[in-house]
């Protein structure tokens, strides 16, 4: 308890943030915000150091060569971000549509379908799509997108439904158009919830993107698969470690985004 008091006393200027969420949550997320990048940098540094001094055979050395690692990381990030962009482009407008009076009844059906998409084993989804659409980057994006629509869709719907209806009526009552109320009141107020969904989707995607190596879409999963097939544990562990670090980093970026996007005053 004394430490809790210490931190709150040391940071009086964060009182605004404190009031917004439960104090415990706020403290936890603030901690993560500052500590996460440090931990990631530390572990990555340790890996680099190990990579420099480790006694590797020729196969391992070729697999862990800096240029190759960089391109794998870049592939991984690219497939993650492109899928996220598709997820947002589909799930947010869909979520908005499903909270409008005309389509409100369809919301449970759509969430059910999205639920099924996420419940299906991701590897199965990706491989089935590959059989249908062929191997490669865009198939990977399609599979990942289907897989990660649910959290964003669900949070968009929940967030919009959570907006106080008296505020919506107040907006209409003073003469804002339906679209005006949506963009200036409903979406800003629902944004924190939507952003949490986006972060969940990002973390889900960065992990699942490990699997797209099976359909020739590259990414850090390649290291893991190579490590397993060739019994090269340094390669396998490096791959797993780098994916974990990337996931943590993306989660952190998502948290920063959540912070930045949260409208002031709520």
């Amino acid at each position: 308890m004394s430490t809790a008091e210490d931190t709150s006393a040391a940071a009086p200027d964060t009182a605004l943030d404190e009031a917004a969420a439960k104090p415990g949550n706020a403290r936890e997320s603030r901690l993560l915000l500052f500590v996460l990048p440090g931990v990631v940098a530390l572990v990555f540094g340790a890996w680099l150091w190990w990579r420099a001094i480790a006694d590797l055979d020729s196969i391992e050395a070729r697999q862990l060569e800096a240029g190759l690692i960089m391109s794998l990381i870049w592939q991984h990030i690219k497939v993650t971000l492109v899928s996220t962009a598709f997820v947002l482009a589909i799930a947010i407008p869909l979520g908005i549509a499903l909270t409008r009076p005309h389509f409100r009844r369809a919301a449970p059906v759509a969430v059910g379908i999205a639920n099924a998409g996420q419940a299906a084993p991701s590897i199965g989804l990706i491989v089935l799509l590959a059989i249908w659409l062929g191997f490669g980057f865009w198939t990977a994006v399609a599979g990942l997108t289907l897989y990660a629509i649910l959290p964003v869709l669900r949070n968009t719907i929940t967030g919009l439904q959570g907006v106080d209806q008296t505020l919506v009526e107040a907006g209409r009552g003073i003469g804002m158009s339906g679209a005006g109320v949506l963009f200036r009141i409903e979406l800003p107020l629902a944004l924190p919830v939507i952003m949490t969904g986006v972060r969940t989707a990002l973390v889900l995607l960065v992990g699942t993107a490990t699997l797209v190596t099976f359909i020739n879409a590259g990414g850090l999963g390649t290291l893991i698969v190579t490590g397993i097939t060739l019994f090269r544990y340094p390669v396998l562990v490096s791959g797993a470690l780098l994916v974990a670090l990337l996931a943590l980093l993306i989660d952190w970026a998502g948290r920063v985004l959540e912070r930045v996007a949260r409208p002031k005053g709520i």
């Binding site: 505020l167 009526e169 009552g173 003073i174 804002m176």
Partner: protein, 409 residues
Amino acid sequence: MTATSPNTSASANGDVSGVDIEMVDVVKTYPGMRKPAVDKLSLHIPAGEIVMFIGPSGCGKTTSLKMLNRLIEPTSGTIKIGGEDIRGKDVDQLRRHVGYVIQGGSLFPHMTVAQNIGIVPGLLGWDRSRTAERVDELLELVSLDPRRYRDRYPRELSGGQQQRVGVARGLAADPPVILMDEPFGAVDPITRQRLQDELLSIQEELRKTIVCVTHDIDEAIKLGDRILILQEGAQVAQYDTPEAVLAAPANEFVEDFVGAGSTLKQLSLARIDDLELAHPTTAKVGEDCAEVRRRAEANGDKSVVVLDERNRPVDWPWLRELVGRDRIPGDVDETLMTLDRRATLNDALDTMLTSRHGAAVVTGRRDEYLGVVNFNAVTDHIQATEQQLSEQQLSERPAGEAPEDGSAG
């Protein structure tokens, strides 16, 4: 639209800036309901008056109000505002010219006070500087210091302050008609009284047509130029001035609704304006203390009312509190309770009971000091009214025929 100058001091001469409202045979039937929520309501609301809609819950008062800005579309019937049928207009355009004030203010939490107030001017295409000017002017009008409050977020304000901003937002584009839906229902009684007083003094300056829903008969009596008492299905039980409603309830329903003890209710009818105010010694902030004490002692006063540079009362110290001081201090006594001159005797008694002087400071337009009201003034007034009433009753009894106004259920 009658675009009265947004400069309130220019319109302070009391010109009516409101327009009249006419409802003819307005019916609202909700789908799936057999009985209409509002059944053939016909009503004329004169320009520049405050009309209070009151009745038991479910009587259709809120539905009737919301039909005036088409938040609820009437099933049939005609509504004209300023002579124009509101159904002929674009609904968003209509609402931008009809102020709307909601319980608790219903401010948008992610917008600052200035942004909240500036929404409608923005929608009407005002430029930034004009909107900013208007926001400051309105904040002054609702007694909030613009410099201090314009950039705050709603949750940094108290309930009463939020409600004030809500009123300012309703007035933003200077609409001729303002609708209020239980505007002061969500604040404590003392704040409510202040807000009511402020609304009355604002109304005195602006003379809008205000339609206000309430469930509080005292509020209706205090604020209303007319009261519309509704029964189930928005049937008009009585539509008259507060005085007439109290003196001659149209039927048993109204009598029950207005409540027993109508003599006590008369306290809600009489205003401080009707009383003789006392004028104790006053002092300006920064004045020489010794000089002020001399003046007070010459007047036989034991306390002085301290006024700031804009003549607003800030403190009411006893003379002994000024001993040892050089100049009159400018600290604002946050607990100093003031009464607007439009406050009712009911409010006045409330305030005096909690005051350490057994009296209360009375303010007029823009919180300017007018004088002091004490218990004697109130009791004298009550006695005089009682006497008058009983004399009236004696002389009127034989011919006493109450005006039966719209009582046909």
